[in-house]
């Protein structure tokens, strides 16, 4: 288990302090840490375990159970593409292929230089205006392969 950097330790402490009076607050704490750092440090597990008085295995179990939580630094740009039925009916499969070719990695993976990562997401709640994607935290609906390529190119230039 790697030790946390000062910045990581501060983020974990701040999150624990913020929710110290709330019952069952492991998820809000994990969200706060990830919102701050972009990931949950490996080294946070023992700290969280002792703060919640549960085993390290339980903390590890929670972090790895939920798709949203991650223990590695995110890529510079994150593109999440909806893979669920309503977007399937509007062409998300070919849209995914376009994205894979444009950024140079497969869905669920990141590029070697960690500039891009492609993530499957199962429903963004934009089912009447699919296909939908989320690019660096911003939602886009009714997206065509051409528009997606343009959005990716724009990010690459920024």
């Amino acid at each position: 288990m790697t030790a946390m950097t000062t910045r990581e330790a501060q983020a974990v402490d701040a999150a624990l302090n913020r929710f110290r009076d709330e019952q069952g607050a492991l998820l809000p704490v994990l969200h706060a840490v990830q919102d701050n750092l972009g990931y949950i440090p490996q080294g946070a597990t023992p700290t969280l375990a002792s703060a919640f008085n549960i085993s390290r295995a339980e903390v590890h179990g929670v972090i790895t159970y939920y798709h949203h939580f991650r223990q590695t630094e995110p890529a510079q740009h994150k593109l999440a593409i909806c893979q669920a039925e309503a977007c399937q009916a509007r062409g998300c499969r070919s849209l995914t292929a376009t994205a894979e070719a444009a950024v140079g990695c497969r869905l669920g993976e990141h590029t070697e230089d960690n500039r891009w990562e492609l993530e499957p997401v199962y429903c963004l709640g934009l089912c009447a205006s699919g296909p939908a994607v989320e690019l660096d935290g911003k939602l886009y609906a009714r997206i065509t392969p051409e528009r997606l390529e343009a959005l990716i190119r724009k990010k690459e230039l920024s």
Binding site: E22, Q23, G24, A25, L26, L27, P28, L30, H31, F52, E58, G61, V62, Y65, Y66, H67, H68, F69, C82, A84, E85, A86, C87, Q88, A89, R90, V121, Y122, C123, L124, G125, L126, C127, A128, S129, G130, A132, G137, L139, Y140, A141, R142
Partner: protein
Amino acid sequence: MSITVYVPRDSAALAVGADEVAAALQEQAAKRGAKISLVRNGSRGLLWLEPMVEVVVNGKRLAYGPVAPEDVAGLLDAGLLEGKAHPLALGDIAEHPYLKNQERLTFARVGITDPLSLEDYQAHEGFAGLRAALKLAPADIVQQVLDSGLRGRGGAGFPAGIKWKTVLGAQAAQKYIVVNADEGDSGTFADRMVMEGDPYMLIEGMAIAGIAVGATKGYVYIRSEYPDAVKVMEAAVERATAAGFLGDSILGSGKAFRIIVRKAAGSYVCGEETALLESLEGKRGIVRAKPPLPALAGLFGQPTVINNVLTLAAVPFILARGPKAYADFGMGRSRGTLPFQLAGNIRHGGLVEKAFGVTARELIETYGGGTESGRPVRSVQIGGPLGAYLPDSLLDLPMDYEALAAKGAVLGHGGLVVFDDTVDMAEQARYAMEFCAIESCGKCTPCRIGSTRGAEVIQRLQAKPAEAPVQAKLLRDLCDTMLNGSLCAMGGMTPYPVLSALDHFPEDFHLAAPKHQAA
């Protein structure tokens, strides 16, 4: 006098550029010396017309849409602020056939009001239900919900009043109200639209539930894929608390109720009520065995009402207008209205609130206008990833819990996902199994292992048409195990899309159609 202009803040509008349209309106109006007062409303639910701009002229709301940022200058030049003609003009939006013929009880305010304005909410009957509830004995509130016939809108359709009655009767120092806002089903977005477009209605419903059963604390568990809904709900709870609608003494009644908004973390199965409770407690979202029922031993082991967003959102109307006003809508044992969500390959996708009993065909053809691609409808999946795929021949079924169940289908959360004739139903069946494998909590074997084996069987069937009859038999056998042996609906209902695809579209599985197709 400034002119009131509305631009929605609903995610479905933001995702197609509503913020950019709002910014362009501000800038272009200022350039022309026109004074506008911009309101960011919820969405009316005519989602193919978003971003939809409305302007108030002579007390009417005249709409334009879909508006792109680059259309704004031209619209202003054409006289948008006076409601003048333009190719994008839609006229008086309240008279639009898509809206006019709906029966909007729950969605009465959505798209009309400023979601976070308490004044606007109260000017549109807001908190009338809460005020009525404060004058009633707890058992009488529960009786009104029972009399309304309101059933759980999350999919199971269990009578809400019975759940409330159980919690009211339970003895405990602390009881809870939990809102299931983990709207993970593809093709559904009504919960999101309520939270983003009329959050005080949900807060009011929760407070009424709290007063009715003696719960002083409520949680809203919102999926992490809905960051806008989380933000709006948090802001609404803060404002409602500051104004005395929540807190230690609701409107000075001496009754306490507080709400905490919690963000989920991307697990579909947490939409199952017991997995959701585990998650709220800070654990992995693993399904609990029932009994005990959450109504008796729910959150932190205490008696808990856990209801879907739409269930609680229907409650203020019932208390304000009386249970009969609600029960007068609907058919059979399905009383009231359901906000249907038209999604997938559909021309006019959006939200259509109608009384139970409307047919899928009416929703898809009359409201939806057929497919977006212009090709024939081949299949409609009703009720999310665990719902059946229906062929065209079954689209005249009334939308009613019992009528659909009789055909091996479910109404679920009221989402309809339309597919045109290019769909490969074997691939949809394989996806259903794959999705279950990804999202299974892993507690019971039929779901955990069955889903993976199911996806493999379908893959083999796809690869080797000659083996199709054998693999199909194996698949049916596996589905039988999952249906009857799974702990919750995840594994127990994944066979619905699989078997319905197999039954209604055998040709996609390299199988001959049976002589007498089961209708």
